[in-house]
């Protein structure tokens, strides 16, 4: 019943969304001492399937990573449930953002991401290829180098007042601002 209400609800206000995200940190710790973080699943998948002599991938991925792989599988299923029962979602971004993005040539604001750029047919275009393949590559390289992503550093690490996570989070925003103000205008 509650689950059904949650699924059909529209976009949540920030004061529901933010605390809901934060609660995954204690929930995972209490279940089994698991530290909330998503990107280590990439390392586990590499360790599991890609043969490599690199020391970074030589550990028992099942013992340390099975929990994380299941968590990520759940995320995929949760996204499916939310879209399947919640209906198509249009994101009510600000008028200022619409104007800024229109200047970059984006006119379709339906769905969660611009259809012109995030669709299979877009892979054949230079813009789509760079955003999807290039962007994905940078996410995977960067998160492994930094030792965590937005969940592991910006939420878990910051919540535990860890200085390295503050540096990483500042880096996330620095990179995002560089891409937004310098690279995307060149690319789009």
């Amino acid at each position: 019943m509650i689950a059904a209400v949650i699924l059909v609800s529209g976009a949540w206000p920030w004061y529901v969304a933010g605390p809901a995200i934060g609660l995954f940190v204690p929930a995972l710790l209490i279940v089994g001492n698991a530290v909330f973080g998503v990107s280590s699943c990439l390392r586990h998948m590499c360790a599991a399937v890609v043969p490599s002599k690199a020391e970074y991938f030589r550990y028992d991925w099942k013992k340390t990573g099975l929990w994380n792989l299941l968590f990520v599988l759940g995320i995929l299923a949760g996204g499916f449930l939310a879209s399947h029962f919640g209906g198509a979602q249009n994101v009510a971004i600000s008028e200022a953002t619409r104007l800024s993005l229109a200047k970059l040539g984006i006119h379709d604001f339906s769905g969660l991401a611009p259809r012109e750029l995030f669709h299979w047919s877009a892979l054949a275009t230079l813009q789509g290829f760079i955003l999807i393949v290039g962007g994905g590559f940078l996410v995977g390289f960067g998160t492994a180098y930094a030792g965590g992503c937005t969940s592991g550093h910006a939420i878990s690490g910051m919540a535990d007042l860890q200085f390295p996570s503050l540096i990483a989070t500042a880096g996330f925003f620095a990179g995002g601002l560089i891409a937004t103000y310098f690279l995307l205008p060149l690319l789009l």
Partner: protein, 154 residues
């Protein structure tokens, strides 16, 4: 110098019931990522352009709730369900280069794809299936890091 990433990751409880709990928590997190719209390329652009406080309100309130929870867990000496003491491992600072450089590289990718790793998986679930290609590219990125790791400054 002890480099924490040289060690294998810590091992959480992986009893069958716990594995089921992680899966279900993942499902819940996928729903939350979708309902909060933090997986939307449009929202990420709005955030980096400082055109709405929404993403900042979400991130800050998430950190505050998580921080209070972790403090309470530490103060009470709370144990996990299987009875082990809860401990959040410290990240070694070292020279700090990895956090700054890796962070910036990650940030570029975050703005390009409009998604960090959790949202990439949630987007595939949401039917934006081309994001599976972004996940494969992210695996390639992580793999290259693993190979280049001995030669990179940390």
């Amino acid at each position: 110098m002890i480099n924490e990433a040289n060690r294998a990751p810590a091992s959480p409880t992986q009893a069958p019931w716990a594995l089921l709990a992680y899966l279900l928590l993942g499902v819940a997190f996928g729903v939350v990522l979708t309902k909060s719209e933090v997986l939307s390329w449009f929202r990420i652009q709005e955030m980096f352009r400082f055109q709405s406080p929404r993403m900042y309100e979400i991130i800050v309130s998430a950190i505050v709730v998580a921080a209070i929870s972790v403090q309470l867990i530490k103060r009470w000496g709370a144990k996990s369900i299987s009875g082990e003491p809860i401990d959040v491992p410290r990240k070694a600072l070292g020279r700090g280069i990895r956090y700054a450089a890796g962070g910036i590289i990650f940030g570029l990718g975050w703005a390009f794809t409009g998604a960090c790793p959790g949202p990439l998986f949630a987007l595939v679930g949401n039917g934006i299936t081309v994001m599976a290609v972004a996940i494969l590219a992210a695996l390639a990125g992580t793999w290259l890091y693993g190979v280049l790791r001995p030669r990179l400054p940390h």
